[in-house]
Symmetry: C2
C-alpha cells in the first residue's frame, strides 16, 4: 500500500524538515499543513509567514542562511516605507511584497487562502501539496507581562522580549480545519503524521487546537511522530526554550514530549539528549535518538529518512502488537 | 499685494512646469492641483500617477529622463509579480510600491486622498501645496474603436493605440472639487491660474469639468493662462497630438487654444508656432510666444518666469482697461 505522510509545520525549523520530506517523497505522498496563526495584516497586505517560509523553501528560492524570506532579496520598498514613516519593524523584501500583493488581491477578490496558496505554489513550481491549516482566520495572541500581544508584535517587533504567561488563539473555536487535513488524518493510506520541529506553543498548538484535529489525530490508525525543536536545552531558532522557562517548564526535549503527551506515539530527539530517552519512554512514547540539527540539505534529507523509517517501524510494531 | 499662483497639472509635462514654478515661488505663493482622473486600483493598490509624478518631481527624486517614476528605481517586485502571472503591464517600481502601499493603507483607514497626499509630500520634503483635484473618485474613460477603456488600459496597456472618439469622466457629476481649489479661484490674492502643458482632453478636462470649476475660473478676477502641450504639431510626450487627429481637429497649438476657448485669457505657444499667434489673438486670447520645450531645469524655470511675467502683464492690462 502506498503510504502518505502528513506533516504539520510552522516556519523555519518546520520548513527544513518539510524540505527533507519533499526530497524523499513524491508529490502524491506528502501533504504539508502550515500554521496560519502567525498570519497578519501588515501595511494593508495579507502576510502568511509560515506558509511562505515553507513555500519558498520547497521552491528552492528561500534564504537558507536566515531560514525565512527569499534568497537575493532586495529592500528598496522597505527603505522607501521608512522614509514615509511607515512601520518597518516587520521587514518585507521587494520580491516578498509581490507574494503578499498577489495574495491580498486574490483574497479580496474572494479566493480562499488555500486557493491562493495553490496558485502561488503552482507558479513557483512547488509540486508537493502545501495547505494552510484553515481558510478561516486564527490569530495567535501571546499573553505577556507587557499585556496580550498579537504574535508578530511579540515575535518580531518586541523580539520575544516580554515574559510569556500563556497563549490565546483568536478565532480558533469557529475556524474549520482545512478539509484535506481531516481527510488525510482519516485516510487508511496515511503512513504517519509528522509534527515538525516547530515551536509547540505558537506554531504547532494552533493546528492541534483547531476543532476536530486532536480527535482525528487520536483516532488515526497511523502513528503521530513529533520531532523535538529543543536540542540540549536550546531551540535551534526562535523562542521555544525561553517560553518553556517562562512557563516554569524544564527547558528540555522531555518537556516538549510532555506537552504533546499521549497525542504522540513517537518522539524524535537529538543525540545530545540521549539521556532523556528513558524518561520519555516511561510515558509510553517511543523514542528515536538521531542527529536532528539541520544545517544543510543533507541533514534535512537525513532526518527525513530517519523519521520515515521510524514511522514504518512504529506501524509494523503496531501491526504486530494488535491482535 | 502678495499674489498666489494656482497651477493645474497632469503628469509629465505639467510636472515640469510645476517644478519651474516651485523654483520661482515660495511655498505660500503656489498651489498645484493635480488631475486624479488617471487614478486607478492596480494589484490592490491605489495608484495616483499624476499626483505622484508631480510629487516625485517636486521632491527632486523623480526620474527626470523618463518624466515619471523615481530615479534609481529597482524592479524586483515587478519581476516576482511576473513569475506569479500577475499583471505587469503597468510597471510599479519597488520604491514606488511603497508610496502606493502607504496611500492604500491610509485611504482604507479612512483618510482622504488630500490628507494622504499631504503626509506623503511632508515626508518627502515637498514644501509647496500639492492637492488632488478632488477627494472623490473620478475615472477617465476613453471611448475608442476598441470600446470604452479605463484610462490606464488605453494609455499604458494598449499604448494609446486604439483610435479615440471621445472621453467620459466617470463620477465627475458627484465629485466635489478640492475645497482649496475653489477657495484659491475665489481669492482676491490669486495672481493667475496656470493650466500646465498637459493633455487637454485627459489631464486638464477632468479638472475643468468638476462641478463649479469652470464657473469659478470664469468668475475669477485673475487671468487664466494655458501653456500649449503641442509644439510644431507634436506633443513633447503622450497622445495629445494623436488624439487631436482622431477627433478630426488640427494637430496644432491653435486647436488647443480653441479647445479652451473663452475660458482662458492668455495662451503660451512655442517659438516654433509663432505663425499661429495672429489667428489665436483673433479669438480674443492674448498670446505669449516663447521657448516652451522643457529639457532641463533651466528650461523649466525659464518657462515658469515667462509665464509669471505674462500673468503680471495680463493683470496690469486688465487693471488699465477696466474703467
Amino acid at each position: 500500500m502506498k503510504r502518505e505522510i502528513l506533516a504539520l509545520s510552522g516556519g523555519v525549523g518546520g520548513a527544513k524538515l518539510a524540505l527533507g520530506l519533499a526530497d524523499e517523497l513524491r508529490p502524491g505522498e506528502l501533504t504539508i499543513v502550515a500554521n496560519t496563526g502567525d498570519d497578519f495584516e501588515h501595511l494593508g497586505l495579507n502576510v502568511s509567514p509560515d506558509l511562505d517560509t515553507v513555500m519558498y523553501t520547497l521552491a528552492g528560492i528561500g534564504n537558507a542562511e536566515q531560514g525565512w524570506g527569499l534568497a537575493g532579496e532586495s529592500w528598496s520598498a522597505m527603505d522607501a516605507l521608512g522614509r514615509y514613516g511607515a512601520e518597518t519593524w516587520f521587514r518585507l523584501g521587494d520580491r516578498d511584497i509581490a507574494t503578499h500583493l498577489v495574495r491580498s488581491q486574490l483574497l479580496r477578490a474572494g479566493e480562499s487562502l488555500s486557493q491562493v496558496t495553490r496558485r502561488l505554489c503552482g507558479a513557483l513550481g512547488v509540486a508537493h501539496t502545501l495547505l494552510p491549516m484553515s481558510d478561516d482566520p486564527v490569530r495567535t495572541m501571546v499573553q505577556t507581562d507587557a499585556g496580550e500581544l498579537p504574535f508578530q508584535d511579540y515575535f518580531v517587533r518586541r523580539r520575544c522580549e516580554p515574559r510569556v504567561g500563556g497563549f490565546r488563539f483568536d478565532g480558533i473555536d469557529s475556524a474549520r480545519p482545512h478539509p484535506q487535513l481531516l481527510e488525510r488524518l482519516r485516510s487508511p493510506a496515511l503512513g504517519a503524521t509528522v509534527i515538525c520541529p516547530s515551536n509547540p506553543f505558537v506554531s504547532v498548538a494552533p493546528m492541534l487546537r483547531l476543532p476536530g484535529v486532536e480527535a482525528a489525530l487520536r483516532a488515526s490508525a497511523a502513528p503521530v511522530i513529533a520531532v523535538s525543536p529543543i536540542i540540549a536545552g536550546a531551540a535551534a531558532k526562535g523562542p521555544a526554550a525561553k517560553m518553556l522557562q517562562e512557563l516554569n517548564l524544564p527547558q528540555t526535549a522531555e518537556a516538549v514530549a510532555d506537552y504533546y503527551g499521549d497525542l504522540i506515539d513517537g518522539f524524535v530527539i537529538d543525540d545530545a539528549d540521549v539521556a532523556l530517552a528513558p524518561a520519555i519512554r516511561e510515558r509510553g512514547i517511543k523514542v528515536l535518538v538521531v542527529p536532528t540539527l539541520m544545517r544543510n540539505r543533507q541533514d534535512k534529507v537525513g532526518l527525513a529518512r530517519r523519521v520515515l523509517a521510524f514511522a514504518r517501524a512504529l506501524r509494523e510494531e503496531e501491526a504486530t502488537c494488535t491482535p
